[in-house]
Each structure stands twice: as structure tokens, then as C-alpha cells.
């Protein structure tokens, strides 16, 4: 399968702390990849570099064969990489629908769209349909600040999906979500990703979720890739069990 994302020798240090050390990662187009690792392993740093929030000290990032190292978040978003955040990054004083309307208006990037009214019937219907796909339509008119955490997480993802990205990076999409909600959230999410053919990398601490939903797993430790492959193989790896899963048997 062709690679949608490739990194070579990606290195990032924060003072004495090495958050990424020579990362060579290749993500196949259309795959749903689980990223696991203990806290401080470099998972979020990897996502931050790929999405332009951080610049690497060394190494390169290629998306669909194009060099994107050092580009800012806006330029990278325009190329087709989107992300969600560990703490949902939403517009708290607006409703869920208004969040989507803002996202959809900005998605075109056309200056004239900036001067158009935000509230437009056709646009609102599109936004509602997008919310419905993630089961959020009944909360559309609720202010985001009052939404439950699971809904906030899904809305964060819905915003990221507005631009129809080729690659979606999800930073701990189930953190703060109850065990019961976790699987429901992933059922919906992976259904949408597969239907739209979106490649995704999700950072996750729950190994059951990883085993169930990932096509491939990348295990990180100390800023390096510890193991990669099919979920069953990686989760059986002794080093992964010791450093990531936390069991030794």
C-alpha cells in the first residue's frame, strides 16, 4: 500500500529531554493506526511535529510524497492533515452547530466566505448532517461549555473532519471518557473514517481499544519506536508489555 505519511530521522529535544529520537515512521494510506506508549514517550510530540505545531530539530516529514517539514498548522491543514486534541479545542461560548458553521466557512479558505453571514440555511443543514454522522445532532443547539466530555471529544473530531482530511491525527480521543462511552465513541468514529477512506493515527492508553480498532500499532518509548506491526503481535512483544502495557508475563 502507498504511504500517506513518512517521517525520516525525526528528532526533537526540549533541553535535556529527548521527546523524539530519529523517528522513521511510515503510515499506509487508508490505515487506522494505534499509537501507544507511556507518558513522555513522544507520542504527542510526534503529532505536534506532523501538524506543524512544533518544528523538529532534525529529520523530515513527507505527506503524500510532499515535504512538509517546518510548515505551520494552517498550511498543513490546507494540505489535508487534521487533528483533534487531548483536551478538546472548541469554541466554548458557541453552540455545537455554530462551532461547525465556523469550521465549514473557514474550510473553503475563500476571502469572500469570511464576509458571508455565518448563519445560512444550506450551510446549517450540511453542518447538522455532519453532526448527525457522529450522533451529535441532538446537542447541536447546546453551548459547547455545557456538553459532556464524550460529546466534546466527538465535536473536536467533527471539526477536524470538516476539511475532509486525508490524514486525521487523534490525540487520546477517549481520555476523560467513561469505559462505556469509549467503545461507543470508537464504533462511531471508525465507521466514519472507514466510510470516508480517511487514514488515522490515534494515541490511546486503553489496550483493549487499540486491539479492537487499530489495523496497525506503533509502540513508543523514550522518543523511539519500540515496536510496530499488527496489534496482536505488538501487544505480545515483551518489551512493549514491560514498558507500555505494564505487565511482564
Amino acid at each position: 500500500m502507498t504511504a500517506i505519511l513518512e517521517t525520516a530521522g525525526l528528532t526533537k529535544r526540549f533541553g535535556a529531554v529527548t521527546a523524539a529520537e530519529g523517528l522513521d515512521v511510515r503510515i499506509a494510506s487508508g490505515a487506522v493506526v494505534g499509537m501507544i506508549g507511556p507518558n513522555g514517550a513522544g507520542k504527542t510530540t510526534f503529532l505536534n511535529i506532523v501538524t506543524g505545531y512544533l518544528e523538529p530539530d532534525r529529520g523530515s516529514v513527507r505527506f503524500r510524497g510532499r515535504e512538509i517539514t517546518g510548515l505551520g498548522p494552517r498550511a498543513i491543514a490546507a494540505l489535508g492533515i487534521a487533528r483533534s486534541f487531548q483536551i478538546p479545542q472548541l469554541f466554548g461560548s458557541l453552540t455545537a452547530l455554530e462551532n461547525m458553521l465556523v469550521a465549514r466557512r473557514l474550510a473553503s479558505g475563500a476571502v469572500r466566505d469570511f464576509w458571508r453571514p455565518l448563519h445560512d440555511r444550506a450551510l446549517a443543514e450540511e453542518a447538522l448532517a455532519a453532526l448527525r454522522r457522529l450522533g451529535l445532532d441532538r446537542l447541536a443547539h447546546q453551548t459547547v461549555g455545557t456538553l459532556p466530555e464524550g460529546a466534546r471529544k466527538l465535536l473536536d473530531i467533527a471539526l477536524a473532519l470538516v476539511r475532509r482530511p486525508g490524514l486525521l491525527l487523534l490525540d487520546e480521543p477517549t481520555s476523560g471518557v467513561s469505559v462505556k462511552e469509549k467503545f461507543a465513541l470508537f464504533d462511531v468514529l471508525v465507521g466514519v473514517l472507514r466510510a470516508d477512506g480517511v487514514t488515522a493515527i490515534f494515541v490511546e492508553h486503553d489496550m483493549e481499544v487499540v486491539a479492537r480498532y487499530a489495523d496497525e500499532v506503533l509502540a513508543f518509548a523514550d522518543g523511539r519506536v519500540l515496536a510496530r506491526g499488527a496489534p496482536a503481535d505488538v501487544l505480545r512483544d515483551p518489551a512493549v508489555r514491560r514498558l507500555v502495557v505494564g505487565t511482564e508475563d
Binding site: G72, P73, A77, S93, L94, V102, L106, F114, P117, L118
Partner: protein, 314 residues
Amino acid sequence: MRGRLRALATAAGTLALLLAGAVLPAWALFLGTVALAKGLTILGLVFLMRAGLVSFGQGLYYALGAYAAGFLGEHLGVTDAFAVLGAGVVLAVLVAALVGVLMVQYREIFFAMLSLAFSMILYGVLVKTQTFGSTDGINVPPATFLGWAPAAGRLRVALYLLTVLAGAAAVAAARRYALSTLGSLAHAIRDNEIRVEYLGASVARAIYVKYLLAAGLAGLSGGLVALTVGHIDPEMAYWTTSGEFVFVALLGGTGNVLAPMLGSVVFEVARSYAYAYSPYTWQMLLGLLMLAVILFVPHGLGSLAERWSARRAR
């Protein structure tokens, strides 16, 4: 339907204000003109405040608008109201285009203090420059209107009518802007700049546009006040003037585009009466007014209408 009703109400309000020009006494015309003119600066300030940016330096653009009118009238003999007001707006926007490049990189207290610093630079220049009248300021010649030079009484009415029309046009345009994506982006920027960037929009560019609009409105406002009062001085760029604009913005609230106008009228009336009845403690009375607004109407006087309609809906 609601939008049409609102437009009708605004048109009716504007017409009522225009007609009031024929019956209001001279002092009320003067007060109303100054209040509505200053309301334009506050309207621009509200654009910025909605994005979480408090400018303590709108006096810079207010004074530029006023000095454009004063300089053109006093030194070049240009007295046409439309020409001097246009020049004030252009000058304010041009300066904002330069200053704004730096301003958009700062947020919170740094934005507030930097804006204050720029206005104080202009204050320093005005105080030290004889051409601009130094600390005495300069007199602004009576305005003419496309060749028509009204006598004093008619001039007052003409300036009032011009200010009402400018205010109505600005409020209508501001409402359209507030409902646009760019206008709505103010809330998004205040809530979460990171998400705005990841959605593909430039926060800096959006703030820059808001900054230019606010400067243009302040320039127009300063020009109208200069023509109405007939005298300008460096105090217009002083930080207390900018602080007063912030005070009035909080008094009126940032919830709707009429609030700055309402806040400005209430403030000018309250100040005039406070000064007339208690000349030594008028600032304290204004402070008490602000305290009462913060305690009982925390979203400003402009939110009273929304509260009332929400209560009716229940």
C-alpha cells in the same frame, strides 16, 4: 422575520433621532452629537473586545481623526465636513495599518499596554509640536457641507443629523459584520486561537482587519467630535481618554452593536448631570454608576433588551 423587524426598528429609531434634531434644545443637540460620535469609537473597541482584546489606546485614532479635521481647517482652509472626515478616516486606517502589524502579535495585557504606549507617543508628539497647537490645541473652523456654510444654529443641527446618519450607517454595517463569518470569528478567537489556526484561518489576519475597522471608526468619531466642539487638544490622545472609551464599552456591554451607542449616551448624560450637581465628586458618582452596572447588569446596559425579550419568551 426577526431580522426584518430589527431593521425596521433601527430605521424607525434613526428617523426618530433625525426628527428630534428639529425640537431638541441646543445643549441636548450638542450632548447627543458628542455622545453618538464617541459611540463610534466604542463600537470599534467592541469589535476588538469581542475577540478578547482590550485596547487602552483608541485615543490614538480618535485624536488622529480630530487632528486631521483641525489641521485641514486651520492650516489648509479645508472645511468641508465630508472631506475632513474622510481624511481623518484614511489617516487613522493608514496609521493602524502600520501599528497593527505589531499589535496583532500581542494579546491580553501586552496588547492593552502596547496600544496605550502608541497613543501616548502621539500625545507626546502633539504636546511638543507648535504646528498642532502644542498643549493649547487648535480651533477647528466651522464646517461646510459641499459648499453650504450654515449659520451657527443650523450648523449644530446639521452636525447632529450627519452624526446620526453616520452612526446609523455604522451600526447597520457593524451588525452585518457581526453576523458574518469574520465577525463571528471574534468569539472563536477569544475562545481558542489554536483551533482557529488548525481550521485553516489566520488569527493574526482576522485581528488585523478588526484593528483597521476599529481605527477607521475612531478616526470618524474624532473628526465628528472635533467639528462639533470646535476645538481639539492633545488630551484626545491621552490614556485617560482611551480609558474612558473602555469604561463606556463596559457600561454599554459588548453583546450587540447598539450597546456602544446606548452606553455612550448614558455616560455623557450622567457625566453632564454629575458635573453640574456635584462638581467636586462627579468622578465618584460615575464610579458608583459603573459599580451598579457591574453588580446588577454585568453584561452592560445593552443586555437589558435581551433580558427583557428572554423574559417575554418565557
